[in-house]
């Protein structure tokens, strides 16, 4: 990679930062810091705007660069992985989006606390939301560091560290100054840029093969060296039965976890009605589905045009497949077209990370201020002060994310994304579904459902091969590995549901029928929704 790529990529990325900072300043002019403004952007976004923002919140650099690389190296198994990310949206659309919009105000805990004894439920749901967010955030921050090394060719420690600090500082500025409005617009701009880039590359790949998808697949299979096996499952997730069960666990976590991600749930509060929430989800499904379909073409295109040796030679996990493909499609390393396309893709990847981390930071600062702070200090929390707390929380979370991102810089943290989904599916989804649909659900059931999913998920990961006991572990020197799977979902998700049920049937408290009626009527009609 020559200096031209770097300079142009940095210039494009700086332009993105300048534009988004301008948006942040513009949207926060004359705004009073009400909670409605800060957490929900005034609830006045249109379904289409929110649909783009959801897509921008959800499509991370891991899906843009990682999935395409996975397909380029392992063929069909990359496709197998990506399906879960899309199907998950049906859970969101059917069971969560409208009902949560109708019942809640800013966070997941609002929905649950409406029926229950407020304090313990808020503390539990707030804790699990912050845990999910921090796990996801650290994965993104480490990703930002390695992205700099990959795309700018500067593998120095200092460059990576500055990338992590820079991304962290920018996200704190966006969130604490601009709140939900700024975050939403950044996500919209990013989603549009990402889709434009993906469409351009997909068209170029298809043009290269004269629109013959069959030929693209055959060429990819032939160049991969695996032949027909490249187009069938098994190259990555095929191994022994532990590895296969591990993938099933990951698939379950992906499908059930999306509906429990705090930064996705908080997006539904930015539209005025449940109907708008539904329509934004429909938009998001269309955009995300289209994006993943194009990613599949890019992955097979990279395998067919570049070949796996080139991809693997640049980065072992295949994360540079798309930028390298852009370079080739633009006309090669020394051409203007190649340079421009490469720089464009690199800038989009940075923008992607920035938009995703801003969304997560905002959602977790809302959990800290609205759930944890408000519950732990009930007397001093007035409307104004809660937003102030949220701004400070955003700074605090930013500092924590930067620190953890720097500490984990050299570690393989790819499992953190799967873990964040598993924790969301184990701790957040059971309590949410029980509150919305189970008449007899009680406070103890709610608290047990959260901790009964959260604690097993985290403990199982600590006892898993990702932490100890194998050469690729975080701590290869020690061995306290007792759980064979990398993703705890297949065990911890049922445990979360079981704990919620157990807590409910063992509690002396009888569920308040009137409050259940209120939740049910409000969730399905929107009566009394803010």
């Amino acid at each position: 990679m020559t200096g031209h790529h770097q300079t142009l990529a940095l210039a494009l990325f700086s332009a993105f930062v300048a534009v988004t900072l301008g948006i942040t300043t513009w949207v926060s002019r004359n705004r009073q810091g009400s909670e409605e403004e800060f957490y929900a952007g005034g609830r006045l976004f249109s379904p289409m705007e929110n649909g783009f923002a959801i897509a921008g919140d959800y499509m991370s650099a891991a899906s843009f660069l990682g999935v395409a690389g996975l397909i380029a190296l392992f063929g069909y198994d990359g496709l197998l992985y990506v399906v879960g990310f899309l199907v998950a949206w049906l859970v969101v659309l059917f069971l969560v989006a409208e009902l949560v919009r109708n019942c809640g105000r800013f966070t997941l805990a609002d929905v649950v606390a409406a029926r229950m004894s407020e304090r313990p439920v808020r503390i539990a749901a707030g804790t699990s939301s912050v845990t999910v967010s921090v796990l996801y955030l650290v994965a993104q921050m480490v990703g930002a560091g390695s992205l700099v090394a990959l795309l700018l060719g500067n593998t120095g420690e200092a460059a990576q560290a500055w990338a992590v600090i820079g991304v962290g500082a920018l996200m704190v500025i966006y969130v604490s100054l601009g709140g939900m409005r700024a975050t939403t617009w950044i996500q919209i701009v990013k989603a549009v840029l990402l889709l434009c880039g993906t469409i351009a590359l997909t068209v170029l790949v298809l043009v290269r093969f004269h629109g013959d998808f069959d030929r693209l697949l055959l060429t990819a299979a032939e160049r991969s060296g695996h032949g027909a096996a490249f187009l069938a499952p098994g190259l990555k997730y095929g191994g022994d039965w532990t590895a296969r069960l591990d993938f099933i666990s990951l698939g379950l976590a992906l499908v059930l976890g999306t509906a429990g991600l705090p930064h996705i749930l908080s997006r539904f509060y930015t539209v005025p009605t449940a109907r708008a929430a539904r329509r934004s989800t429909v938009w998001a499904i269309g955009l995300i589905g289209g994006f993943y379909l194009m990613t599949i073409v890019l992955g097979f295109g990279a395998a067919a045009i570049l070949g796996p040796e080139t991809v693997r030679g640049s980065n072992v996990s295949g994360n540079t497949a798309v930028p390298l493909l852009a370079l080739d499609l633009g006309g090669g390393a020394d051409s203007t077209g190649g340079t421009v396309l490469f720089a464009f893709v690199a800038a989009i990847a940075f923008a992607t990370i920035l938009a995703v981390v801003a969304g997560i930071t905002l959602a977790s600062s809302a959990s800290v201020a609205h759930d944890l702070y408000a519950s732990l200090r009930p007397s001093g929390a007035k409307a104004r002060s809660e937003v102030a707390v949220a701004r400070i929380a955003a700074v605090g979370i930013g500092v924590i994310a930067i620190a953890l991102g720097l500490l984990a810089r050299d570690l393989n943290v790819a499992f953190l994304v799967g873990l964040a989904f598993a924790v969301a599916a184990s701790a957040n989804l059971p309590v949410l579904l029980y509150s919305l649909f189970w008449r007899g659900f009680t406070t103890r059931g709610a608290v047990w459902a959260v901790y009964g999913g959260l604690v097993p998920a985290l403990v199982l990961v600590v006892l898993s091969p990702v932490v100890s006991g194998s050469p690729e572990s975080l701590f290869p020197g020690v061995d306290f590995q007792y759980f064979p799977l990398q993703n705890p979902g297949v065990v911890s998700i049922p445990l979360g549901f079981l704990a919620g049920w157990l807590g409910t049937v063992t509690s002396a408290e009888i569920a308040d029928e009137a409050k259940h009626a209120e939740t049910e009527v409000r969730s399905l009609t929107g009566a009394g929704a803010v």
Partner: protein, 189 residues
């Protein structure tokens, strides 16, 4: 029209916040359903604040004219809670709920089984998935793209079902419930 931000949950007056006031006061939907397009009773997409104010129904008096809104002369929150129980037991609400559940239940079971079956087959029986169908396309590719297709189809079917079978009844229930809770609260104060 502005309710306080500190309130945890708005009872009857919550409707007047945010996007809804584009439509004028809610009860007019009960009074004059002809004002709105049939497919689109919650016409709300201009929420970002520009244009289309013309679709707003003319503002007028409200409240007392709502036929279904009965006044409760009981004690504040208790009366409001009673309203929700009453609405929950009403035939109109049960109809909306069963329509929702009759669609979402089977659809959820269907797509979850289809997804889990797909993942389990891909991991447990890769040989079957590798079976060629047409050219380079094998069973696995068809199943994978089939997941995309069913997701899009179910999304479309759900949105259509909700728009045609639920939205209208839910909206009427919403205004009625809010009128009732408002009545219950003001009756107490």
């Amino acid at each position: 029209m502005q309710s306080s931000n500190g309130r945890a949950r708005g009872g009857g007056d919550g409707s007047e916040r945010s996007g809804e006031h584009h439509h004028g006061r809610g009860p007019q939907f009960v009074e004059a359903p002809g004002e709105v397009r049939y497919e689109d009773p919650w016409y709300d997409e201009l929420a970002s604040g520009w244009g289309e104010q013309g679709t707003t129904a003319p503002a007028g008096s409200h409240g007392a004219e709502v036929p279904t809104a009965r006044r409760q002369r009981e004690d504040g929150a208790v009366a409001a809670a009673q309203v929700y129980l009453e609405v929950q037991r009403s035939a109109a609400f049960q109809e909306v709920r069963s329509r929702y559940r009759r669609f979402v239940g089977p659809a959820c079971a269907g797509f979850l089984l289809w997804y889990v079956g797909y993942v389990v087959t891909a991991t447990a029986a890769p040989g079957f998935m590798a079976r060629p169908v047409v050219g380079a396309v094998n069973v696995a590719l068809i199943a994978g793209l089939g997941q995309f297709l069913t997701t899009f189809l179910l999304t479309w079917a759900y949105a259509r079902h909700a728009r045609l079978r639920r939205d209208r009844a839910a909206l009427e229930l919403r205004w009625d419930t809010q009128e009732l809770t408002r009545g219950a609260r003001s009756g107490a104060s």
